[in-house]
Symmetry: C2
Subunit: 166 residues, 2 copies
Amino acid sequence: MSTLSARSEDYLKTIYKLQSERKVVRVKDLAVTLGVRSPTVVGVISGLKDSGLVDQEHYGYISLTGAGEKLARTLVQNEELLKSFFREILDLGPDEAEANACSIEHYITPTCRERLVAFIRFLEVCGKGSPKWLDHFRHFLHTGEPPPCDRCGEMLPGEEKKCTKE
Amino acid sequence: MSTLSARSEDYLKTIYKLQSERKVVRVKDLAVTLGVRSPTVVGVISGLKDSGLVDQEHYGYISLTGAGEKLARTLVQNEELLKSFFREILDLGPDEAEANACSIEHYITPTCRERLVAFIRFLEVCGKGSPKWLDHFRHFLHTGEPPPCDRCGEMLPGEEKKCTKE
DNA sequence: TAACAAATATAGGTGAGGCTAACAATGTCC
DNA sequence: GGACATTGTTAGCCTCACCTATATTTGTTA
């Protein structure tokens, strides 16, 4: 399986997403979603058909093959993980988180992705809510004020209660 | 100034970096560094000359114009900031950190970059060394063990001393 | 069912960024 | 200073992902 271009992966992911919304996927849907013209979609889809990732009859609907769906699922999962990072840690809005996730997904190394995923997992194992340090980061992000505690184990006045945990 | 392609930005950054190593920059240097053939470099450089970002005499050395250097400096600074994030927070090796920084630099939104920068700054204002939570993350990253404290304010046995700070 | 609207496909073009092969300029060394 | 290696340029070709204009097919509806 020759390696797919970033753009082809975008097409694949979009088909997957539209399909999982129980919608039938047409050329026009992809064109609208991806912001391109129909002939562009036809061209890219033609390549994906040749790669055995997409099925489409002449003038018919577009669907993923087994292989296509498997690959698309992986891609969408990766994108979701990145999106979580951008939303939950960097506090970006949903749309911006998605946009960033979608575009950088193609360019980061596997290790880098693993690390970002680990970061999100770390958040989860830190407890149900967000850990204190993340609250402090958010506060710093939006106000510019430094976090209430200075160095490990050193509390600022009146922070004994708040600063007991990472 | 029409917006530069990601690839052109790579060329610009590479010229800047080679130039700041006090090296004279030749077509061949760029070709080797960027992993392409000379005619490709000539083609891209030709575009950068048209944009007024690069100077080069026929069969001569390549250098940045004032505008080119200004732009390149910004690009390299952004890349450095991202690299810091990948190295210091995600604990990637220098080369992988650089590779990721270099490629995603073109694709993240300005806000996203600001947030990543803020994250690094947050680390700095947290104190001279790395904050406890980052140590905990690294430990989690490399061992899979959850952090020693569970929820804000709740210590695990024997963790009263270690877990007093984020 | 014929006509028309909407969707898809084809033909052909563009620009970016690659390539090879061939040619031109430069530099080095005897 | 001539020969040869190195480097830069040109010419010409490729692929990808876009475009417009036009043709074809399908769906709807009078």
